[in-house]
């Protein structure tokens, strides 16, 4: 049985050395990366040399001196998010970037609470703790790929937890972190890796989700 995904959104996180006061809504508009009305209606929470945070209608941005996070609010804007990140770092092409991750969140709703509980039992042998814990349930499980030498395709980490978006006590979220090391710290390398792995990252996420639901015993 393959469950239909209820919600999907995506974020890009970069690690490196950044100046939080540069990337602001006005700066993005001046560089023609976003619309003028988006810069005018942006919800700016803080712009400071240590941290900047603002929301556009379709993306949340948070920047500290060593970390930048872009998070789409809607599935419809994930390609626009990619273009935003590529454009920013094509302008700021001297930024040293150590690593980046493409983070996917896929929310699924099971048909009943029984299926939800059985899914947890299938993921992990929780019931072997019946004798020492009271009605034990699975809260979180995490899987990581073991790829040591070939960084070109990145490395996936999958975390499965109850959904924090669909609060019906029978929904789960598959959180994927597709991590890449940017070994030469060059912005151009980061952009090339992001673009060349973008489609494959989304495809692999879909494949993993489909594989899990095909094999799960509910």
């Amino acid at each position: 049985m393959v469950l239909e995904r209820e919600s999907y959104n995506l974020g890009i996180v970069l690690l490196g050395s950044f100046n939080p006061v540069i990337i602001t809504p006005q700066w993005l508009f001046n560089k023609k990366i976003i619309r003028e009305t988006e810069s005018e209606t942006a919800k700016i929470e803080l712009i400071h040399p240590e941290i900047t945070r603002f929301d556009l209608e379709w993306v949340s941005v948070q920047i500290t001196t060593d970390r930048v996070e872009f998070r789409s609010k809607r599935e419809s804007d994930i390609e626009t998010l990619r273009d935003l990140v590529v454009s920013i770092f094509n302008v700021l092409k001297e930024t040293p970037i150590d690593a980046f991750g493409i983070n996917h969140n896929c929310h699924f709703s099971l048909r009943s609470t029984t299926e939800y509980i059985n899914f947890g039992y299938w993921l992990s042998p929780v019931r072997q703790f019946d004798t020492v814990m009271q009605d034990p349930r699975l809260l979180k499980v995490e899987y990581v790929e073991n790829i040591q030498n070939d960084n070109s395709k990145g490395m996936f980490r999958l975390t499965i937890t109850p959904s924090d978006l669909i609060l019906d006590h029978k929904s789960v979220v598959f959180s994927f972190n597709h991590h890449f090391q940017n070994t030469d710290k060059q912005t151009s390398s980061f952009i090339n890796t992001l673009i060349s792995n973008w489609s494959e990252s989304i495809t692999k996420v879909n494949s993993i989700c489909e594989s899990i639901w095909n094999q799960a015993k509910l």
Binding site: R5, N9, V13, L46, E50, R67, E75, I78, A99
Partner: protein
């Protein structure tokens, strides 16, 4: 959240967990940044040129600005419950247009498959994107359901691509590299090439 380590099968060594690209800052980390901001401000006041009597008598707290630190949520808009669901996405390239419609070749980003041709309304384009309308312009079209504060509604968006790639210097450099590589290819005389006549 504590980091975990995984034993590798090949070497028997523990591999390090990826740092930070998978989680956003925890609330503790956010709070530490704010404490540092406040600390920096207090240091500025202490080392300022305020007269000593002012520094001693004034309570420093009263000099701190009224500032409400924003709450950096670790989640999406959970309380407001805003998210999209069952979205179909296409990437389109404009092939022609007139005053009322534009034709585009669409690539299905959700399900793949063959490209499709569509005719869309110019009125569906946001005013600020209309200046980007031209033959060859790339846009994204999505259609689906959106949840907003408990209300589901249908939504269709067209958004033209705004992508900054190479600047003129980089473009010229790329062209120069092409010329350099091309110069390495020697012209071949196919009529007199003995290896071809064997």
């Amino acid at each position: 959240m504590e980091s975990s380590k995984t034993l590798t099968a090949k070497t028997g060594n523990w591999i390090e967990e990826n740092s930070l690209t998978k989680y956003e800052l925890t609330l503790n980390q956010n709070a530490n940044i704010y404490r540092k901001l406040v600390g920096n401000y207090v240091n500025l006041v202490n080392h300022s040129t305020l007269p000593n009597e002012n520094k001693e008598s004034a309570k420093l707290e009263s000099h701190l600005p009224e500032f409400k630190f924003p709450t950096l949520s670790n989640h999406y808009d959970i309380v407001q419950k805003k998210f999209s669901k069952k979205v179909q996405r296409w990437q389109g390239v404009v092939t022609k247009f007139d005053n009322s419609t534009f034709e585009a070749r669409l690539k299905d980003l959700t399900n793949g498959g063959t490209d499709e041709i569509a005719i869309l309304e110019i009125n569906d384009i946001s005013p600020e994107d209309k200046e980007l309308l031209s033959v060859g312009a790339v846009f994204y079209w999505s259609a689906g359901y959106h949840m907003d504060n408990g209300q589901i509604y249908k939504r269709s968006d067209i958004r033209f691509q705004r992508l900054i790639t190479l600047d003129s210097e980089e473009f010229e450099s790329a062209l120069n590299n092409v010329d350099i590589l091309l110069a390495k290819f020697k012209p071949r005389d196919f009529d007199n090439d003995a290896s071809l006549n064997k």
